[in-house]
């Protein structure tokens, strides 16, 4: 059975994978990451990967509120 953190990682990876390959993310002094590099960082559970997970969770949490108020 999947743990909560494994489920979250899988969800985040699926969301990142759904983006076109010609997108990059600049994450301050962590550097610049293509879609595929960001996926690798999530897999490695690096600081950047954890930042990507936090960003995606913030997005999911905030968007439901934003769309609800429109």
């Amino acid at each position: 059975m999947e743990t909560n953190s494994e489920y979250i990682k899988k969800l985040v990876k699926e969301r990142i994978s759904a983006m076109p390959p010609d997108v990059s993310f600049s994450i301050g002094n962590f550097g610049d990451y293509t879609r595929n590099e960001l996926l690798e960082e999530v897999d490695k559970d690096s600081e950047v990967g954890r930042a990507a997970i936090e960003m995606q969770l913030t997005f999911i949490r905030k968007m439901s509120g934003i769309l609800h108020t429109q």
């Binding site: 759904a18 983006m19 076109p20 010609d22 997108v23 990059s24 993310f25 600049s26 994450i27 301050g28 002094n29 962590f30 550097g31 610049d32 293509t34 930042a51 936090e54 960003m55 995606q56 913030t58 997005f59 905030k62 968007m63 934003i66 769309l67 429109q70």
Partner: protein, 210 residues
């Protein structure tokens, strides 16, 4: 006002180019703008300029961390130990994660208000426009929302009003991006929502620079 801009990699090149309009806006409003850029960025240079000019507003764009801001070589040039440098100013830093540590320390040392980000500052980009950031419609909605804080302060609005204006602009851009047919719009949307959540301030909400 003093504007400090690093420009040594792709994210800082985007921030640098998008801050040009802020300098033009400030000069139109008759602010005396002192720029500290490139290898000039150091604590000593900043202290010297502050001593000579006594700015009401300091604006930084570049890299940061919880406790510090980075120079053009990617080294810390201001940290919690030197946070008194922001005394008697309103300061805004478009930099990762610097609000909770450095921003708080600055206000404890007499900075009227420190505006910044509680988490990493994300810029989503389209590869095709790496050398033409102003044409990058994926980055633009994100940087419009961070720039509007400066534009609002220049108009004489308070810190809290300026942050509210950024949130309002973000809400408008979020709705446009939700309904956009641009394939890269979701990347822009995610970065924008995350930055908008992270934008806040320490110190006086009623502080102004005019």
């Amino acid at each position: 006002m003093i504007i400090i801009r690093s420009n040594h990699d792709i994210p800082t090149s985007y921030l640098y180019i998008y801050s040009e309009e802020l300098i033009e806006e400030a000069e139109k409003k008759r602010f005396k703008v002192a720029k500290i850029e490139g290898d000039e960025i150091s604590e000593a240079t900043l202290r010297g300029r502050i001593k000579n000019r006594k700015p009401k507003f300091i604006f930084f764009s570049g890299h940061g961390s919880n406790n510090s801001l980075y120079d053009n070589q990617g080294k810390e040039f201001v940290d919690i130990g030197s946070a008194d440098i922001f005394k008697d100013t309103v300061t805004y830093a478009i930099a990762c994660s610097c609000l909770e540590g450095l921003g708080l320390a600055a206000t404890e040392e007499g900075c009227f208000s420190f505006i910044g980000y509680k988490k990493p500052f994300w810029i989503a980009r389209d590869h095709k426009y790496e050398t033409r950031p102003l044409e990058d419609n994926i980055a633009k909605p994100i940087l419009e929302c961070s720039n509007i804080v400066v534009k609002s302060l220049l108009k004489g609005n308070t810190v809290s009003e300026s942050i509210r204006k950024s949130h309002e602009k973000a809400a408008d851009n979020i709705i446009k991006l939700v309904y956009s047919k641009e394939p890269l719009a979701p990347a822009s949307l995610q970065a924008l929502v995350s930055n908008d959540e992270a934008l806040s301030f320490k110190g006086e909400s009623s502080a102004k620079i005019v």
